[in-house]
């Protein structure tokens, strides 16, 4: 059951937007024609492979590559010496600031290997077999150092130190000693002590979550070709070809204009493809070998050496009156950053209490380095972790106060004008609407049986805009090519083409959308932050308006009337209110036919920094059954409700909601990184890193609520990230109601659940 309920939708009536056409790139993807990262073969191509550290923490004493160099068929061997060392400098990327000093060390270890799987050298050879052989001939001398994996242990004074020059930022005065704590952040509002004093009930809990991987099905892959004169082309699977260009140019000391990056079709990213791993290595190898170099990660390399999201410890304390009003809330977040600083703890802090209207809040966050792969963005980075903790305590409070969990949330829900816990006031947001839709959904009233429970949780994500370009080119026959610069990861070519057709007033099949390489457009920030339909959509609409302006000018020239006498209606230039006499409206084809004579080719361009992204809020309802003898949790029914602002292509909005919900189910029940005592990952494959399979989940019902975003011409909000925020708490809340046990640690895997059930039985037996 998927339905769209319109709430306060703007007066504009749409012709194309809101319909469900076939995606323009669809046929290529159901026929196997679509080219993904590893699907390109070029003449004279070499295969590149990476040698990785077997140690979680080790000083690199020496690397001898001479034997590998000498192996017949080996064309290039590189180490960190082949990449630029760079000073500490933070610049925005994917999830947050990146530091090039860290990035160059993450793609290729320099002084130390900081996690198992950390790249230490790479080779390019005539075949994969020769490349593998060569890796075995590289002699690396390590001095193995003690390692630390747990965030709490890493914060202890005598913990093994990853970076001896790291002094905690955000603590005044600056600490005298270096530590593994990169940063302390704090957000505060009102007076929490006073708030807790007014509370009738206060609940305080600590939660633990494990690192989880985005689990995109396509491993990282790229093909680099650097010519003798230093001009380079790079083909890769990425969420942002422009970001890759910038990073690689910096790491290799190239001019940005010399490097053209083409984004292949991308087989999933979820934030994990917003950074570079193989790309700079392939370029460095190709530069050395003067031949194209293709590199593809194995699945084990993806798990070991690409960024999952943080494991964390989160302490939450919330107080409320007996009437159900929250009086104060506090949280302390400790997030693993992996080997280099930059966990999503800051957005985690800002999201923690964002769904609620609170007077007294205090959130403190710590960004902590540990001997694990550097985290990368993962869908609403930071939010799911802190909101899991907060939404669990909210549910427990509701139970303690004998309030329906939706009622309790409605009593405290943030709405337009609410001052967000992180500072500014919200514009129009849809939390209340999603809660009301959940309450009135048949799912919420459906009966439950023994060992079953129903859980509810809400979720928040900011969404972003950012730098974006789009171009529309009018063809000689009146058809239109749309060039966008944000990789299409889940149907955005469809939504962008729909917005172009809507604005131009033409049929959708007259628009052919393509994703341009870095030479085709000005800079585009990446596909992330749920920004594409919002930002690229905004750019496409502006480009369409720009093209319409030109079309009207040309029509005016054809008619020999002032441009004021021409209006654009239903895809035609028309005489403005009677002006210009009885002229027949001109279609794009008519205008294109004479374009040469009236001034040349006709294009529409937009280059913007999109502002005004609207937050998207969601409420999820889930039913589970817990097997009391095995601890196995089964998800029986799931309903996801979310504010999309305006759903341009509702099928793909539903798809985002369904996909995020199921990723959340995996996070809640089975997904986790498991390390052995020596700091080596024990489950770097889909066999033991257990993402949900088709038979694990029910249909995911969706309800799209539409509270238009006033800052987008069509009311669009980002929708991609919010869906992964509510599931963990929703499931924990359902399990709590099925078992009477509050689970504060993820994943809620069968052994963990059974242990808790047996402990409870034992306790009852005693009593």
């Amino acid at each position: 059951m998927n339905d769209v309920t319109m709430k306060g939708l703007g007066e504009r009536q749409f012709n194309v937007v809101g319909t469900r056409p076939l995606r323009p790139d669809g046929v290529d993807k159901v026929t196997g024609r679509a080219k993904f990262g590893a699907d390109l073969h070029v003449p004279n191509m070499l295969i590149g492979k990476v040698l990785r550290s077997p140690h979680a923490h080790a000083r690199i004493l020496s690397i001898d590559t001479s034997k590998a160099q000498a192996l017949p068929g080996v064309k290039a061997v590189i180490t960190s010496a082949d990449l630029c060392d760079l000073p500490s400098e933070f610049i925005p990327a994917g999830e947050m600031m990146v530091n090039f000093r860290d990035m160059t060390r993450n793609v290729m270890a320099r002084e130390k290997a900081l996690y198992e799987g950390h790249a230490v050298a790479a080779v390019a050879a005539v075949s994969e077999a020769v490349a593998r052989e060569a890796l075995e001939l590289i002699d690396v001398q390590y001095q193995v150092l003690p390692h630390v994996l747990d965030v709490a242990q890493a914060m202890e004074p005598n913990a093994p130190l990853l970076h001896d020059n790291m002094y905690t930022i955000g603590v005044e005065p600056r600490p005298a000693q270096p530590s593994n704590v990169a940063k302390r952040v704090e957000f505060a509002l009102g007076d929490t002590a006073a708030g807790f004093a007014q509370a009738d009930v206060v609940i305080e809990r600590e939660f633990i979550t494990k690192p989880v991987h985005q689990g995109y099905i396509e491993p990282h892959a790229c093909l680099a070709s650097v010519s003798e004169d230093g001009q380079a082309d790079l083909w890769c699977t990425t969420q942002g070809q422009f970001i890759v260009r910038g990073f690689c140019a910096k790491l290799l000391g190239m001019e940005v204009a010399k490097l053209r990056v083409t984004a292949s079709e991308i087989g999933g990213g979820f934030g994990g493809k917003t950074v570079v791993y193989l790309e700079p290595l392939a370029l460095a190898l190709s530069r050395k070998a003067c031949q194209p170099v293709k590199m593809v990660m194995s699945r084990a390399e993806v798990f070991r050496a690409s960024g999952p999201t943080s494991g964390a410890r989160v302490w939450v304390k919330i107080g409320a009156t007996s009437k159900g009003r929250i009086t104060a809330a506090e949280a302390v977040l400790k997030y693993q950053a992996g080997a280099f600083q930059g966990s999503p703890v800051q957005p985690g802090c800002m999201c923690a209490f964002a769904p609620y209207d609170l007077d007294n809040v205090r959130v403190v966050g710590f960004d902590v380095v540990v001997n694990r792969p550097k985290v990368a963005a993962y869908r609403a980075p930071g939010g799911p972790i802190s909101e899991f903790a907060v939404e669990s305590v909210i549910d427990e409070l509701a139970k303690r106060l004998s309030l329906d969990p939706i009622e309790f949330r409605l009593k405290n829900a943030a709405k337009e004008g609410t001052k967000a816990a992180y500072g500014p006031k919200f514009g129009p947001i849809g939390l209340v609407q999603t809660l009301e839709a959940a309450r009135s959904h048949p799912h919420y009233r459906a009966p439950l049986e023994a060992n079953q429970g129903r859980g509810v949780a809400s979720g928040f994500w900011f969404n972003i805009g950012g730098e974006t370009c789009a171009t529309l080119n009018l063809g000689e026959d009146g058809s239109v090519t749309l060039v966008a610069g944000t990789p299409d990861i889940g149907g955005s070519r469809a939504s962008l083409a729909m917005m172009a057709a809507e604005e131009l007033g033409i049929a959708l099949d007259k628009v052919r959308p393509v994703i341009g390489d870095t030479s085709a457009l000005g800079f585009n920030f990446l596909t992330g932050g749920s920004r594409v339909t919002f930002s690229s959509g905004m750019a496409v609409i502006e480009a369409a308006r720009d093209m319409i302006r030109r079309l009207c000018e040309r029509a005016a020239k054809v008619w020999e009337v002032p441009v004021e006498d021409v209006v654009w209606e239903y895809g035609h230039a028309c005489p403005a209110n009677g002006a210009g006499g009885e002229r027949k409206p001109l279609s794009l084809a008519d205008i294109a036919r004479t374009a040469g004579k009236t001034g040349g080719p006709i294009v529409g361009n937009a280059a913007i920094n999109a502002q005004g992204a609207g937050p998207s809020l969601a409420t999820h309802v889930v039913d589970v059954e817990v097997d009391p003898e095995t601890g196995k949790v089964t998800v029986l029914r799931y309903t996801a409700i979310q504010d999309a602002g305006k759903a341009v292509h509702p099928s793909y909005v539903e798809g985002q909601m369904q996909g995020g919900a199921v990723q959340g189910i995996g996070w809640a029940l089975n997904e986790e990184y498991i390390y052995d005592a020596s700091g080596r990952l024990e489950n770097p494959g889909f066999l033991d890193y257990r993402i949900p399979v088709c038979s694990d989940v029910p249909m995911i019902d969706t309800v799209i609520v539409e509270v238009p975003n006033p800052r987008h011409p069509y009311g669009v909000r980002g929708v991609g990230e919010t869906p992964i925020v509510p599931p963990m708490a929703a499931i924990a809340n359902a399990v709590a109601r099925a078992t009477g046990i509050r689970f504060t640690q993820l994943p809620m895997s069968p052994p963990r659940v059974l242990e808790a059930i047996d402990a409870k039985r034992a306790a009852l037996a005693k009593a």
Binding site: G94, E95, M97, G272, Q346, P381, G423, N609, Q611, R711
Partner: protein, 81 residues
């Protein structure tokens, strides 16, 4: 004068000031004024922070207008996955 509200880390860097009155008609003037008044803030303002003007968040937007009675929050820039 626009009211600028600082929280957490920035407040510490501004010597504990929670609210500051600043004469500025756009974001660039505001950041400049803040940096001059609180040199410790300056490096942080250059990157990594967004400006919320009367509730609407602007990232990297020097010329977003600020009204005399605007309430301005400095919040960490968000990127997302």
């Amino acid at each position: 004068m626009a009211r600028v509200i600082l929280s957490g880390t920035l407040r510490q860097l501004a010597g504990g000031e929670a609210q500051i009155e600043v004469e500025a008609s756009d974001v660039r003037q505001l950041l400049r004024a803040l940096g001059e008044r609180y040199p410790a803030l300056a490096p942080h303002l250059e990157s990594g922070y967004a400006v919320a003007i009367d509730g609407e968040i602007f990232q990297d937007a020097w010329f977003a207008p600020i009204r005399q009675d605007s309430e301005v929050h400095l919040v960490p820039a968000i990127r997302g996955g």
